[in-house]
């Protein structure tokens, strides 16, 4: 669901300004981590960013709405947290330019997409010790998708709470609010589950492929002991 980008001017300013500041801080911090990144690293992270965008651009007709995949899980695993956050930011900026998600909410969209994706590597790190690497990729992808969705809903909920109540709101009954919340969940939950399933399946196939063809790219693999996914990569991914 993280792909459902929040547009400009809907959420209250307090929420998106906070998001923007947090995301900018995140970009600066991640840039400090990737300062020594060689050209190979930048090319790799851009290729994966491009892949995220390209995949998002292909609608998969699953429900009434065209659902789009993000590949955030595998990208997070392949890149490690710092680069993943940058990629999420870059992808969000380009989508905003293309009218998918707004400028003012670049911060929020980055955080929703990025935090989910960033969670994939640590979760994978834990799982990979217990199971085959492709399965670990699939599961951590599911986790990152769920996290993104939870964040997305949290943003929505926080915004509802924080948006200034107008005179009309006072009249709206409490039970109506609950009904609205219920309707929203009923609408989104099935979509969300299908999305998680599709993403994880795709991640599984991708991981199977990489495991056979470029095992060095998946952390924790043959040459992954050194952690160097890409020659000349930034020190951050080795941590």
């Amino acid at each position: 669901m993280s792909h459902l980008h929040i547009p400009d001017g809907v959420l209250p300013p307090l929420v998106w300004i906070a998001g923007l500041l947090l995301a900018l801080a995140g970009v600066l911090v991640s840039a400090a981590f990737t300062r020594g990144a060689g050209p190979q690293r930048i090319a790799f992270q851009s290729a994966l960013g491009g892949l995220m965008l390209a995949v998002m651009a292909i609608p998969v007709p699953i429900t009434a709405f065209d659902y789009c995949m993000t590949l955030a899980g595998p990208v997070g695993i392949l890149l490690g947290p710092a680069s993943t956050f940058q990629v999420s930011f870059v992808v969000t900026v380009i989508l905003a330019l293309m009218g998918q998600g707004g400028f003012t909410v670049i911060g929020l969209n980055t955080l929703v997409l990025g935090l989910g994706a960033m969670s994939a590597r640590p979760v994978y790190g834990v799982l990979a010790r217990r199971m085959k690497r492709p399965h670990a990729v699939a599961l951590s992808t599911a986790f990152s998708q769920l996290l993104s969705s939870a964040l997305w809903i949290a943003v929505l909920a926080a915004s509802v709470k924080l948006s200034p109540a107008t005179a009309a709101d006072e009249e709206v009954h409490h039970t109506l609010r609950w009904l609205q919340g219920g309707a929203l969940v009923a609408l989104l939950a099935p979509l969300l589950l299908v999305a998680v399933a599709v993403e994880s399946l795709l991640a599984l196939g991708l991981a199977h492929f990489l495991d056979r063809v470029r095992p060095d790219l998946l952390p924790g693999g043959a040459s992954g002991a050194s952690g160097a996914a890409v020659p000349g990569e930034a020190p951050e991914a080795r941590s």
């Binding site: 492929f209 056979r212 063809v213 470029r214």
Partner: protein
């Protein structure tokens, strides 16, 4: 040798940026067992023509028939009978290892494992890459990748092979290997060939019939290679060059020494020696 299996007449395709390719002039016809080469300048519409034959583009005007069907509508009916190698062969490789990739189509058509294994090993043997069966495709050299893609195209024993610039980027020995392979398939299995290429040196050994396109898609001429390469005016208009031997004997003829049009170096040496010998006392 005279039943037409491909027939394209006056097809037009307009790309989104309004570039229009109008494949008209002559009809494009491939008969059963024929080896057809398509020549023409860059951007004349060779690939566009092949895409129509493969049902990847639907004609906006005109008519395409392959094995009696309209490929844009019913390609699935004829797909098993057509093998394909597109311009960037390595982009046709889908599965991680050579065996996986070559077995891709038969598995999709629901053959049993035993049949698949049988078919794959025949295809690998034909192309001469049995030793690569369990290699990872990604690490193969350009020429090897092309052979893998070719094995994938051959595995269902197609009656028609459609190849878009199969020689690009290959070293001369590999080119000859592929020409020999194609000719063997044609001779022994009656496979018909449609090949688009810029390598004029390979046209004589490979083609029964040549089609020449000019910019915009017009089909200007067709005929056996020797005849096409004799038409200097035509070649000039379509950015094609005669192969060196054809040119040499063309010039000799124009200087009053008509020795015919030998097709390869061996034949050329023979006529030259004969002529020199004959001229001796």
């Amino acid at each position: 040798m005279s039943e037409p299996i491909v027939h394209v007449s006056c097809v037009r395709h307009t790309y989104p940026d309004r570039t229009s390719v109008h494949l008209c002039g002559l009809d494009f016809v491939v008969e059963k067992g024929q080896r057809v080469v398509i020549l023409g300048p860059n951007g004349c519409g060779k690939s566009t023509l092949l895409y129509h034959i493969l049902g990847l583009l639907a004609p906006q005007e005109g008519d395409v028939q392959v094995f009696g069907a309209d490929p844009a509508k019913h390609f699935s009916k004829i797909r098993e009978r057509v093998g394909v190698l597109l311009q960037n062969a390595d982009e046709q490789i889908i599965a991680p290892t050579v065996y996986d990739d070559v077995s891709f189509s038969p598995r999709n058509y629901g053959y049993t494992d035993a049949e698949v294994g049988e078919k794959v090993s025949v295809a690998l043997r034909k192309v001469g890459i049995e030793h690569l069966a369990h290699k990872v495709c990604h690490y193969l050299s350009g020429g090897e990748k092309r052979k893998v893609a070719l094995a994938g195209a051959l595995v269902l024993e197609p009656e028609l092979l459609v190849l878009d610039e199969p020689f690009e980027g290959l070293d001369p020995a590999s080119r000859n290997d592929i020409v020999d392979l194609l000719n063997r398939l044609n001779r022994e299995h009656g496979v018909s060939l449609v090949v688009a290429t810029h390598d004029v040196q390979l046209v004589q050994p490979l083609a029964d019939k040549v089609y020449v396109l000019k910019r915009g898609g017009e089909i200007l001429a067709q005929g056996p290679p020797a005849e096409i390469f004799r038409d200097v005016e035509l070649l000039k208009r379509t950015n094609i060059e005669a192969p060196v031997l054809a040119e040499l004997f063309q010039v000799l003829e124009s200087r009053g020494v008509d020795l015919g049009r030998p097709e390869n170096v061996e034949a050329a040496v023979k006529v030259l020696l004969a002529r020199m010998g004959a001229a001796k006392p």
